[in-house]
Each structure stands twice: as structure tokens, then as C-alpha cells.
């Protein structure tokens, strides 16, 4: 497979190449009015779009990125031959894929937020910022452009913010876990790389970046093929697909469930909570430190993601059904991890809602959760596969019908097995009657074009011939 030294960073939206690590965000949902004014709007937004260019002069106060749903591209009057060339799951959209994704019952589209119930969402505008004021100022600037061009109406906006502890932004989420360890490395994407974040090599312990085509359209993927992409090639190249999901967290239910189970479990509450996800609350992987959190490991990039499950086939350290082991099984399925290299996604997003300390009373009705955004070259092969086979089903992980303990749509009937050994502090344990700790409140599939493609859309130059 050809390797490349560097990507054209100025042609790729910055959101694709890096997690900005900016603590505030607003995700704006637009309905485009009609093609001419919508193109004018995109043309005016173009100079504001943050590219993947390196920030040698430090982080900007705010960033802007732009993506479209398939109905959005229809509203922009892209040629039919282009519109029909998009992968079927993107043309259908997340709502119509509910049965495939297991988005039923409490997660069903009828229960989603209002913004998903009226005029269709055509575009996502992501603003990230260093301060709420920076986000607000950027939003005001964009809202003015929208008003001037008349290219869109704002259907709604979702604010997100990193959880602050002692006045400092953290990577905590509302259940109290530490998030943000899992993103893979890709060939050509400059990033502070750390062992455990790409793909496993044949020796079973060295890690290397994944093929660029697992993230970006127009490049060879792990099969050595170009990902399925729309025509013309120039529209697709340097773009990607984004899955947006608003995941409400039932923090009260989560705490109540743990409180009820913990006295029955010999390892204690903190350990049971860690068994759910595969990491202690501070992020220490159970695989590396099964008995207690170890900040020295959690904060060492050479160790915090550098592990495999080969020596823990029975799941006595990290349960086989623990969240991180399910969604990134590493070597757990054998074949040096090759069965999973085409199922990786890149995660973006931030929590939303007010963080509640452990001693603070909470209710499920309070608006808090996480905005989950996944970037991948193929929504069906990557995100949808992970969601369907590894979150909502357990067969690949030899967990039968058991769903992911944290993310699963359990409907009160879920089960999770904590494998154990003979030690009294690490006994086997079965969690049953699992409720939905997380509920889907809306989302969609977006196409996140390159800068060139955005300009072509703005100028009406997309030509599939």
C-alpha cells in the first residue's frame, strides 16, 4: 500500500484532522431556503471555515466547520447523478436507518428533540471556542451572514462544553468517567501519536497508523481500495462522513443502579463502575491495573492506551463486555486485530448540560449528556457496524444477545457479565435488569466536504461528468 508523507491540510476541514481541545461548542442546525441564496451563504462562510492547517501561532479564539445532510445537498441542487452516487445509508439518513441501528423504543426517532421533528436539517455548523464569549461572537457573526444572504433558517442550536472541575476543563463525562482515549491514528494525519491508537501489527504489540482511507475519502483504505464515494472525485476527495448523535445520560438511573448492585459485588462500587467501561474513573485501563487506579499509567501517553487483551481472554481483568473492549477490541478477536481495522471511527464532540458532583442530587429529566460525533469514510461499514454488532449485539464478543452495558438500548431487560476469578475482591458478577443509561435524542448523517468541494458547491460547479 502506498504511504504518503503528508496530506494537504489546507484543503481538509480542521475538524476532521484534529480534536480541537477547545472547551466550548455550539452546533447549529440549518434549513437551507433555496439553492441560489444557500450557495451564496456557503460562499460567504467559506473564508471562516477552519482548515487543518497547523496552529503555529497558537489556538484561535474560535473555529467553524460545515457539513450537509443528503436533503441539504438536494436543496443545494447538486446534479442528480452526484446525489444518487452517495452511499445508500447517507441518502437514507440516520432516521430511516433506525431499525438497523437499534434506535427503537426509548431511542426511537418519534422521541427525538423538536429540531429533528419539523423542517429537515440540511446543514450542521460546528463552532468551537476557547470561551463561551468567543463561541457567542462567532455565532453572531455567522447569524448575520445567514440573515444577509437569506440562505438558511436556523432550526436550532446545541451547546456543548467540557466538564469543568475546579475551574479547569477536563475530559470527564457525566457518569464520572474520563473520556477521549480512543481515537485512532491515520497515515498522513499529523498528531501526537501514542501506542495503542492505530492498528496492531503482526507481532501483536506494535501499533501503526491506519490507512488514510478509513478516515478520508479519496485515499486507499485498509483493504487497499478507495472508499465508496460520490462523483466527481474532486467533490469527495479530502471529505468524510460524520455521524451526529445527541446522547442523553440518565445520570440518576445510572447512580441508582450502581448503588443497588455495588453492595452485592465483592469488588466495591468503584470497581464495578470501572468494569462497566474497562477503565477506572481517572482513565486507568483495567487491563493494565485491575485492582486500583494508577494515575502514573492514566497520564502517561506511552501507557494509557497501550495494551491488548490477549492475556485476558477470560475477561478477569477487563470484562469481555466492557464498553472499551467491545468498541475497540484490539486483539480480542484474534488475527492480530485485523478483523477490526475496518471498523474504527474517529470521535469528536463534547458533553452538554451541567455537571453534577457525586454528592449532588440529580434527576434523569435534567438535560445532560454527550454530543457524539463520529467521522468515518463509510458510515455503514464503520459506525453502523459498531453500533449494530458491537453495541446492540454481543455475538462477536461471545456475549450472546447482551448489549453494551453503558450504551445499549436495554429496555430494562439487559444483562452484563463481569468475569472474575477466585479472589474475593474480583468475583464473577451478573448485572441484570439493565435500564437505558443513555437515550438517543436525535441525530443525522452528514457529509463533511473538503474546502475545494465547499467552494465548488458554493459556485455551482459540481459536475459529475
Amino acid at each position: 500500500m502506498a504511504t504518503m508523507s503528508k496530506l494537504n491540510e489546507t484543503d481538509i476541514q480542521g475538524f476532521v484532522l484534529r480534536g480541537y481541545n477547545l472547551p466550548y461548542a455550539r452546533y447549529v442546525f440549518l434549513h437551507l431556503t433555496e439553492a441560489t441564496s444557500a450557495r451564496a451563504l456557503i460562499g460567504r462562510l467559506l473564508p471562516l471555515i477552519t482548515t487543518g492547517q497547523r496552529w503555529d501561532g497558537g489556538k484561535p479564539a474560535s473555529t467553524v466547520n460545515l457539513a450537509f445532510t443528503h436533503p441539504g445537498l438536494v436543496a443545494l441542487e447538486l446534479p442528480d447523478a452526484t446525489l444518487y452516487s452517495f452511499p445508500p445509508e447517507f441518502q437514507q439518513g440516520m432516521r430511516d436507518r433506525a431499525a438497523i441501528l437499534g434506535d427503537t423504543g426509548l431511542n426511537a426517532p418519534e422521541r427525538w428533540d423538536d429540531v429533528w421533528q419539523g423542517d429537515p436539517v440540511h446543514a450542521w455548523l460546528g463552532i468551537n471556542g476557547q470561551t463561551p464569549e468567543a463561541v457567542e461572537a462567532c455565532f453572531a457573526q455567522i447569524a448575520a451572514v445567514i440573515a444577509e444572504t437569506g440562505g438558511a433558517t436556523i432550526l436550532g442550536a446545541q451547546d456543548g462544553a467540557a466538564v469543568q472541575i475546579a475551574g479547569k476543563p477536563t475530559t470527564k463525562e457525566h457518569f464520572g468517567y474520563t473520556d477521549g482515549f480512543g481515537n485512532p491514528d491515520y497515515i498522513g494525519v499529523e498528531r501526537k501519536s501514542q501506542p495503542g491508537q492505530g492498528k496492531l501489527l503482526e507481532d501483536g504489540k506494535t501499533w501503526a497508523p491506519l490507512a488514510t482511507g478509513e478516515l478520508l475519502l479519496g485515499y486507499a483504505d485498509e483493504a487497499g481500495e478507495l472508499p465508496v464515494a460520490p462523483v466527481p472525485h474532486i467533490l469527495a476527495r479530502n471529505g468524510t462522513f460524520m455521524v451526529y448523535r445527541k446522547l442523553h445520560q440518565n445520570v440518576a438511573t445510572f447512580r441508582k443502579y450502581l448503588d443497588a448492585q455495588a453492595p452485592l459485588y465483592g469488588g466495591g462500587a468503584e470497581k464495578l463502575k470501572a468494569k462497566f467501561i474497562g477503565r477506572w474513573s481517572d482513565g486507568t485501563p483495567l487491563e493494565l491495573s485491575p485492582d486500583a487506579p494508577d494515575a502514573a499509567i492514566a497520564q502517561d501517553p506511552m501507557r494509557s492506551t497501550n495494551f491488548t487483551y490477549g492475556d485476558d481472554a477470560d475477561g478477569t481483568r477487563c470484562p469481555i463486555g466492557a464498553h472499551v473492549r467491545r468498541v475497540h477490541p484490539r486483539d480480542a478477536f484474534g488475527f492480530q486485530g485485523r478483523l477490526i481495522n475496518r471498523r474504527r471511527i474517529t470521535r469528536r464532540g463534547l458533553p452538554y448540560g451541567t455537571f453534577a458532583d457525586e454528592d449532588e442530587a440529580v434527576s434523569d429529566e435534567q438535560d445532560r449528556g454527550v454530543i457524539f460525533m463520529a467521522l468515518n469514510a463509510s458510515i455503514s461499514r464503520q459506525f453502523e457496524f459498531v453500533q449494530q454488532q458491537w453495541i446492540e449485539y454481543g455475538n462477536d464478543a461471545h456475549q450472546g444477545n447482551d448489549k453494551d452495558v453503558l450504551m445499549g438500548n436495554h429496555g430494562g431487560r439487559g444483562k452484563f457479565v463481569v468475569q472474575g476469578d477466585r479472589s474475593p475482591s474480583n468475583p464473577p458478577f451478573v448485572c441484570s435488569g439493565l435500564p437505558n443509561f443513555v437515550e438517543l435524542r436525535g441525530g443525522a448523517y452528514f457529509f463533511l466536504p473538503s474546502i475545494t468541494a465547499l467552494a465548488m458547491i458554493a459556485m455551482g460547479l459540481v459536475d459529475p461528468r
Binding site: 438497523i100 423504543g105 459485588y265 461499514r381 449494530q388 431487560r413 441484570s432 435488569g433
Partner: protein, 217 residues
């Protein structure tokens, strides 16, 4: 013995479908139509046949070469493919085939009567001979199960589910009480009737509501 995996046997049968241009709809479409009506759960006719782990029926029209340059080749016939994993510890498939003929003759006739030379399931000896004549001995077959019998597999699934439930409802119980309850539980599990083949999905704690069979490659 490439068709044998322990006590389980991979029985694969390839029957040429009658090519008759006067038949409307054609014989292959008539098979497809009938297969589409068959249930796939415990009400599947093959679930009634003793020793069936898995049975899959496919109509193969042709084999298409998709490489470059294009190359036109065709099979001599359309085929009905029957693939199965069956209990067959001694490697002699006669017992299973007789069981088929004796249990679901009506369905067999509805399907295989569209195939060349099919004698009908009424004549069991002729049926067994026909199926064996069409058998494909493989070097590699789809092994859907390990080498336990259908009854052993069903009881194992039943026991696994019961044990998980028992643990969930008895965790943390004082030892003496736990032992008493476990002895009763073990006796109950032993005495419980074996689930019917194909019925396990309904018995599972959380049924799969998810739609599968998409094009998730």
C-alpha cells in the same frame, strides 16, 4: 472425512433444477416462491426433522465472473443448494435423510419436485438414493455449531440462560441458603424439558429487535 466435524456432519446437496421453457413461472422461480413462504423459527419444517442444527436452501442461477476482462461462462444448469449441519456421529447420512422423508415429505416434494430426476419422498429408499447421488462431498463446509448434538446444544443454551438468571437473583445470598436454592435449581434445570429446536430466540432474555441482513460488509 472432510464432511465430519466430531459428531456433526456438513451435508451439502446440489440438485439440478428442471429447465423447461414451457413452465410459467419457471421451476427455479417456483422454488424461490415456496422457500420465501417458509418460516425460519421453530415452525420451519427443518426444525421438525431430528438432528438438524442448521439448514439453508439457496437457488443458484449461475456463477458470474466479476473480474476484468469480462469472461462469459455459465453453469450447465440452475441448481438448488441444500446446506446443513446435522447430527451424524457415524458418518452415515441415511438416518437423517430417512428422517427428512418421514417428517416433512410434503415440503420436500413441494421444493424438490422442480428438480431433475426427483423421485418423491413417498418412496423413502429412492429419496435417500437420490439425495445421496446429489450430495457434494466438500473439503470445507460452513460449521455453524461445535460438535455437540442438537439436544446437547439446546440444553446448554437453556442451562446458560437459567444459570445467568439464577446468579442475577441469588448474588450475595448467605451460603447455606444459596446452597439449598442451588440444589433445587439444579434439580429443576435437570427436570426441565429440552427446548424445541428453533425456539431459543424467543426464550432469550432480550430478544433481538434489530434488523439485520443489511449490506454491512
Amino acid at each position: 472425512m472432510p464432511n465430519q466435524n466430531g459428531t456433526v456432519y456438513g451435508l451439502t446437496i446440489l440438485s439440478p433444477i428442471i429447465d423447461d421453457e414451457r413452465a410459467t413461472p419457471s421451476h427455479d422461480l417456483q422454488i424461490r416462491h415456496y422457500l420465501a413462504t417458509l418460516p425460519t423459527d421453530e415452525h420451519s419444517p427443518f426444525a421438525q426433522v431430528p438432528g438438524t442444527h442448521l439448514a439453508r436452501l439457496v437457488v443458484m442461477d449461475d456463477v458470474i465472473y466479476v473480474g476484468m476482462p469480462a469472461c462469459e461462462e455459465h453453469l450447465n444448469s440452475k441448481y438448488l443448494i441444500f446446506e446443513s449441519n446435522i447430527d451424524c456421529p457415524d458418518g452415515n447420512v441415511d438416518t437423517y435423510l430417512r428422517g427428512l422423508a418421514e417428517t416433512v415429505a410434503k415440503h420436500l416434494d413441494a421444493i424438490w419436485s422442480h428438480c431433475v430426476g426427483y423421485p418423491g419422498a413417498g418412496n423413502v429408499a429412492a429419496f435417500v438414493a437420490y439425495m445421496k447421488a446429489c450430495q457434494l462431498t466438500t473439503t470445507f463446509f460452513f460449521a455453524a455449531v461445535n460438535d455437540k448434538s442438537v439436544t446437547e446444544s439446546l440444553r446448554a443454551l437453556q442451562t446458560q440462560k437459567a444459570v445467568a438468571e439464577f446468579i442475577a437473583t441469588h448474588q450475595g445470598m448467605p451460603a447455606a441458603q444459596l446452597q439449598a436454592e442451588f440444589l433445587k435449581f439444579a434439580a429443576d434445570v435437570k427436570a426441565a424439558p429440552t427446548p424445541r429446536p428453533g425456539s431459543m430466540e424467543q426464550m432469550m432474555l432480550a430478544r433481538r429487535e434489530i434488523k439485520t441482513g443489511g449490506h454491512n460488509e
